[in-house]
């Protein structure tokens, strides 16, 4: 059996169900793989772990990966199980916000730690400054939960369709009290939750072979999870060592995740990549990436794995 270490972007939850399912259902074993899944955390930067050799492959958002690439860490997208972005801004309806133009002068919660790029790109495309000036946005570094919205410390916060949005509803807020701005609808969606490896490793045929098997098994896991959301959620729950996740929350998350993975067979769609890069390059005076990336993705693995 070959050993593979996978570094997740965040803690164990249904967002990563495909990998846990593949492990649990023996899909990795079928491919003779011994996979270790490392959960992420608030201060773990997956690219750093990859660069340090602590993992073979990681789950990351493309803006963060491309930015790391430009910083001199050559990482390459080898597969893209998520087709659609789940990122959105959730605002109180009573603030009167109806479109991006109304963001001016508002306070908005944003995740940082490499997750801020989609928001910054979007705002610079809209031409709205984020420097707390009068006609700009006051940005808050959003913490782990949805409190800033509930406590009215922010007019809008970042949410994922599959996680934080549910938490807002759970807190007793009616959907009619909220307005959502999905990045997908605003045409600024960037690719989320792709699989990335170090470029130099791809020169090693044995590694490439290992990744082919890994992607194949993982995609099998994803498709299984899409079809059996409740069982997948339970598998995730079994793997959560904090004991903090609840069944209902994970089932709902799995159902939402299934919508995002639905359109993907694992191969990166070039038009999605294009849109991501354009969005990031359009960042006005302070773009996330300054030049067209080259070699930031490959179909080599998915071509071999999926055909």
């Amino acid at each position: 059996q070959d050993e593979v270490t996978l570094q997740l972007k965040w803690v164990t939850q249904a967002q990563f169900a495909g990998y846990y399912v593949a492990e649990d259902q023996g899909f990795y074993d079928e491919e003779s793989l011994d996979v270790t899944i490392l959960p992420g955390g608030p201060d773990i930067a997956p690219p750093q772990v990859l660069a340090g050799g602590g993992a073979d492959v990681m789950v990351d958002w493309m803006p963060s990966a491309l930015s790391a690439r430009e910083k001199g860490l050559p990482i390459v997208n080898i597969a893209q199980p998520f087709k659609t972005s789940g990122l959105m801004l959730t605002c109180w309806k009573d603030t009167g916000i109806t479109g991006p133009e109304d963001f001016r002068g508002r306070t908005i919660g944003v995740w940082f730690f490499g997750n801020e790029y989609p928001f910054l790109s979007w705002m610079s495309q809209e031409g709205i400054p984020t420097d707390a000036s009068d006609d700009g946005i006051t940005v808050l570094k959003q913490g782990f939960n949805v409190d800033p919205l509930l406590q009215r410390q922010a007019d809008c916060i970042s949410t994922m369709t599959y996680n934080e949005y549910g938490q807002v509803l759970d807190a007793g807020v009616g959907e009619d009290e909220l307005v959502n701005f999905k990045y997908e609808d605003q045409g600024v969606a960037t690719l989320e939750d792709g699989l990335y490896v170090l470029e130099e490793n791809l020169e090693d045929p044995a590694f490439v072979d290992k990744m082919e098997r890994f992607v194949r098994a993982s995609m099998k896991g994803w498709k299984w999870a899409e079809e059996n959301p409740e069982d997948a959620a339970m598998i995730v729950l079994d793997n959560d060592e904090t004991g903090a996740q609840t069944e209902s929350h994970q089932i709902r998350m799995m159902q939402e995740i299934a919508k995002l993975t639905a359109g993907s067979n694992g191969a990166l769609a070039e038009e999605d990549y294009r849109r991501t890069v354009d969005t990031l390059l359009a960042g006005g005076s302070d773009p996330v990436i300054s030049k067209e990336p080259e070699g930031a993705w490959t179909h080599e693995i998915t071509d071999a794995a999926l055909n």
Partner: protein, 281 residues
């Protein structure tokens, strides 16, 4: 590899130089006492540079000091703004509020023995609540800006100062207290003319311990929510952006600020408690 060997040579040389200085005839002079730790620090920094280069450690794992210095110099305005947000607004205000509250409680606890016996054990227990747990709660209660950082700092510095002040207020000799009684002195007179001055060495001990706690507390609290500036914000964001040189530049700034804060309090202590045997020199 040669660079690594160089590093070891540098270490040996630095140590030999220090050994000579420290045991030499001028060992007690002010300049040598500054030079020895400086040489030690420079040796460490030199070794860091050489080893990082020699072993080709990726810059996203550990940048060489030269890169850190470049980031520090290049982003001085950013670092300054972060410093003002975290240190001046968050840490300093919290430190002042925490210290004043601790003094007030200490005087109360000193006055009412019942309170002292009840408050101190409970206080010790509360002080053991890990800030990484209390910080998110305080951020939730007090909002994202410096007020919540200030609150975290208050919680962190309150107990060390309280405990030390209470101990200090109790640290008068029976004879010194009896003297005041022979004068028929009132409680307030005894407090201001005897107990507070006698407590100063203890109070400053608490104040000194709290300097580093204050800065660390403010930085930690920023990890759990902040506006888009501050040292803690910059550190966590820069890690996410793999800008490790910036991370270390902020850490250096934090260490400088922390050491300077400590140094200033120690200096004031020397002025105020000049009479204490440990300062008479």
């Amino acid at each position: 590899m040669t660079l690594v060997i160089f590093a070891l040579v540098l270490w040996a040389a630095g140590f030999a130089l220090n050994a000579r200085l420290a045991t030499g005839p001028a060992a007690d002079t002010r300049s040598v006492q500054l030079a020895v730790p400086a040489i030690f620090g420079l040796t460490l920094i030199g070794m860091w540079e050489l080893i990082v280069r020699g072993l080709d450690v990726p810059g996203v794992i550990l940048p060489p000091p030269s890169a850190v210095a470049a980031a520090f110099a290049g982003e001085l305005d950013v670092i300054w703004a972060d410093f003002v947000q975290t240190f001046v607004k968050g840490a300093l205000s919290g430190y002042l509020i925490g210290a004043l509250a601790a003094f007030a409680f200490a005087i109360l606890a000193d006055r009412y023995d019942f309170l002292k016996r009840g408050l101190l054990p409970v206080g010790n227990f509360m002080a053991a609540l890990p800030i990484v747990g209390t910080a998110p709660i305080l951020v939730m209660w007090f909002g994202f800006d410096w007020e919540s950082k200030s609150a975290v700092v208050v919680v962190m510095v309150f107990f060390p100062i309280l405990v030390n002040t209470v101990a200090g207020l109790a640290d008068t000799q029976a004879m010194q207290r009896d003297l005041m009684r022979t004068y028929g002195a009132s409680y307030v007179q005894t407090l201001f003319k005897l107990r507070l001055p006698a407590a100063m060495p203890f109070i400053f001990n608490g104040l000194k311990i709290s300097t580093t706690l204050a800065l660390i507390g403010a930085i930690v609290a920023e990890f759990f929510g902040s506006p888009t500036l501050g040292m803690g914000f910059r550190i966590s964001t820069s890690v996410g952006q793999l800008a490790l040189d910036m991370v270390w530049a902020e850490i250096v700034a934090a260490a400088l600020a922390g050491s300077a804060f400590y140094g200033i309090i120690a200096f004031i202590e020397k002025r105020v408690t000049f009479w204490h045997p440990s300062h008479r020199g």
